[in-house]
């Protein structure tokens, strides 16, 4: 019996999904649906800008927020993308995404190309095409200074804890050597922090990261020699031959005219394998790694907390405010979806005919019982397979709204359940229709009961909205993680972001309390004489 019920529920869910989701299809946004014959470079030229995907949370020296002025993105790949776009005759516009999802976002049509330390590897070519490499990096091993037992060779890694980036060549290499690999999504700073405090025994990462995060830490030591090489290439949409050819041509020219050599030298990244790769002129021997020096000066030695508060944080406030605004707008709209749909589900479940009740129960169980991240991923990356491509904003609002509708439905059901059945009977004997009885008698009483849990849910939603960073939206949490990585400051900026979240949620908690008091006082008010 139970099993049959489950099967029926599951069956009912399918048309429900079809009903709910494409019912909200935004036709005008389907133009970015991934067509097999995409020509990204032509699109970029028509638009006048090249949208290049990256994750600033990855940090220096690739793409990161200038620690001295976090409103600007800097990095050798920012310079590279600008030079590339210029060769293609357009402006460069960076678009944010989660690093390990950048190629999926490219396939979905959110970017024209990806420039963010994408390693040349077979598995990446399954999702996207890769240009000729524009940089070769050695892999470097970093250990704690003075750690006598530190692993200093690949074979010594067996059984030791090693930190690196997820999906990287370093991770695969270390796994092959039998190391216990720990990967980090947060930012490169975290990887070296964990090494310093002893959570890992060594870090294996590309030379640029090592130079900017490992080598500047006086407690760490970079082991001499290369542990392998990785090449970085530009990701272009799969099967897009025109874009691939245009990007390759542009890289060729940038290599030959010395632009790339000068650029790498400025960031302190010029090396022999890259010289061999590019085949062009070397940078002049007088070249100064000014960008690297600036980074060292900015973050090499952490400032005292109070100096950070007075000197560094004011410049971050605008970014935090922008992130907070996005979090708030997405949350409010998602809550509007959740409240409306939740109310409909609760009414269907409590007062609807049997099939509608089953549908409502199925919906609630499905959306309550599966992770929000899975739902968001399905809405954003899965629906395009059915021809529905939503903008990140709309996808975020819908996924959050659909998920929280399940919770709201249960709140309202509890509220409706708290209204005695005699109340509906009384309304009916007075001649009110069922709908009017609900609207004027049952719902006002139910809402009073449902208000506290609903406020609670809104505050939870406000925090869960941080998940929309996986669909390229830079909301409050993403703003924090990016800044923390760029400024090498997790604790201080963490306090700042906490204040912003409290600033968003406390007013709602207060509002809810005062509404409750007002509703409650009606009932408790003593009889007027």
């Amino acid at each position: 019996m139970r099993k049959r019920r489950l099967a029926v529920t599951l069956l009912l869910l399918l048309p429900l999904l079809a009903l709910v989701v494409p019912g909200r299809a935004y036709a005008e946004e389907t133009e970015t649906a991934p067509a097999p014959a995409r020509n990204a470079v032509a699109e970029a030229r028509a638009r006048g800008e090249l949208r290049w995907g990256n994750d600033s949370q990855g940090g220096a020296p690739y793409v990161f927020q200038d620690p001295m002025d976090p409103n600007h993105l800097i990095g050798f790949e920012v310079d590279f993308a600008a030079a590339l776009a210029k060769k293609l005759g357009v402006r460069a516009r960076p678009v944010q995404g989660q690093w390990d999802g950048l190629l999926e976002l490219l396939a979905r049509g959110d970017f024209d190309v990806v420039v963010n330390g994408i390693e040349v590897a077979e598995e990446k070519k399954r999702v996207a095409d890769l240009s000729r490499p524009y940089y070769v990096a050695a892999m470097r091993l970093t250990v704690r200074k003075g750690d006598a037992g530190a692993p200093r060779t690949l074979t010594a890694l067996r059984g030791r804890k090693l930190g690196t980036l997820p999906g990287s060549l370093a991770a695969r290499l270390a796994e092959r050597e039998g190391a216990e690999v720990k990967t980090y999504d947060g930012g490169q700073n975290d990887i070296y922090d964990d090494l310093r405090i002893g959570r890992t025994d060594a870090v294996l990462l590309d030379d640029p990261i090592t130079l900017y995060y490992g080598a500047i830490d006086p407690a760490l030591e970079v082991v001499d020699g290369s542990f392998g090489e990785v090449s970085y290439a530009v990701g272009v949409p799969k099967g897009d031959a025109e874009t691939l050819a245009a990007v390759n041509g542009a890289i060729d020219e940038l290599a030959k005219d010395g632009t790339l050599a000068a650029l790498y030298a400025r960031w302190g990244l010029w090396n022999e394998p890259t010289e061999k790769l590019l085949g062009g002129p070397a940078p002049p021997s007088t070249a100064v790694a000014e960008a690297h020096d600036a980074w060292r000066a900015a973050v090499g030695k952490p400032l005292p907390f109070w100096s950070r508060v007075t000197e560094r944080y004011p410049a971050t406030l605008r970014l935090f405010a922008r992130g907070a605004l996005l979090s708030l707008v997405v949350s409010v709209l998602a809550m509007a979806v959740a409240v409306t749909l939740g109310m409909a589900l609760a009414l269907a479940r409590v007062y609807g005919p049997k099939p509608l009740q089953w549908l409502a129960v199925g919906y609630i169980e499905l959306f309550r019982g599966t992770p929000l991240l899975v739902q968001l991923t399905m809405v954003y990356f899965g629906l395009p397979e059915l021809g529905v491509t939503l903008s990140p904003f709309v996808a975020g609002v819908i996924a959050l709204g659909l998920n929280y509708a399940a919770a709201e439905a249960e709140n309202y059901r509890a509220g409706l359940g708290s209204v005695p059945s005699g109340q509906m009977d009384a309304a009916r004997t007075l001649g009110l229709s069922k709908l009017a009885s609900l609207r004027h008698v049952a719902l006002p009483q139910a809402i009073r009961v449902a208000l506290p849990p609903t406020t609670n849910d809104f505050i939870a939603l406000l925090k869960d909205s941080s998940l929309i960073s996986v669909v390229t939206l830079t909301e409050l949490t993403k703003t924090y993680t990016s800044l923390a990585s760029a400024m090498r400051d997790h604790l201080g900026l963490g306090l700042v972001v906490a204040l912003f979240y409290l600033g968003l949620s406390l007013p709602f908690a207060r509002l809810s309390r005062s509404v409750e008091e007002r509703l409650g006082s009606k009932v408790r008010r003593p009889a007027s004489a």
């Binding site: 309304a427 004997t429 009017a436 009932v523 008010r525 009889a527 004489a529």
Partner: protein, 230 residues
Amino acid sequence: MSICVTDLVKRHPGAAAPALAGLCMKVPTGKIASVLGRSGAGKTTLLRCLSGLDPFDAGTIDVGGVRFGAGAKHGSFGGKIGLVFQTFELFPHLSVLDNCTLAPRIVRGEARARAEARAKDLLAELGIEDKAKAYPEALSGGQKQRVAIARALAMEPSVLLYDEPTSALDPALKHEVGRTLRRVAGTGVTQIVVTHDLPVAREASDLVFVLDKGRVAAFGPPDEVIAEAA
């Protein structure tokens, strides 16, 4: 207006015997009828069918010459037959005045000012005009009952039903119920009172019906019927 019930049948799903098995009763205009009977005799079922809360299976209900058959939908006599619940079921989120104006405004589309003026008149008639702005929780049992009566009367019903009107009241207040019934009868409304309370039935009603097994077992003036039953 008079109410005439003919051969009313109601079966509850799964029950062996019908709750109402061809019940007949007639109450003339402006009269007060008490309905007595043991638990399970069909009193509550009769009220729910008469008030339109539950459908019935056969028979007719005739209110002032308008006849409703078994096909009549829920609430189709809404307004013509009112019901005062045992637990009153006042709307706790609305003031006394709003309790009395909700249905006239929503169902009959009456303007607020007119609905409120009529409601205030009704509350004054029942002696609780000073409670118009109070919320139900602040009222005593007797006051709640009179609000419930005013709320039902605001829809200008021809027939008003009461479910155990004395059960939620202090003994001292019980004689008040009889007075209230008389006051309402003065306006020409026909009233049917389901009760266990013999003294109230004897004092307040013109007619008494005794139910048994879904039928009227006895009826007549209170003195005769109640003397027989006792």
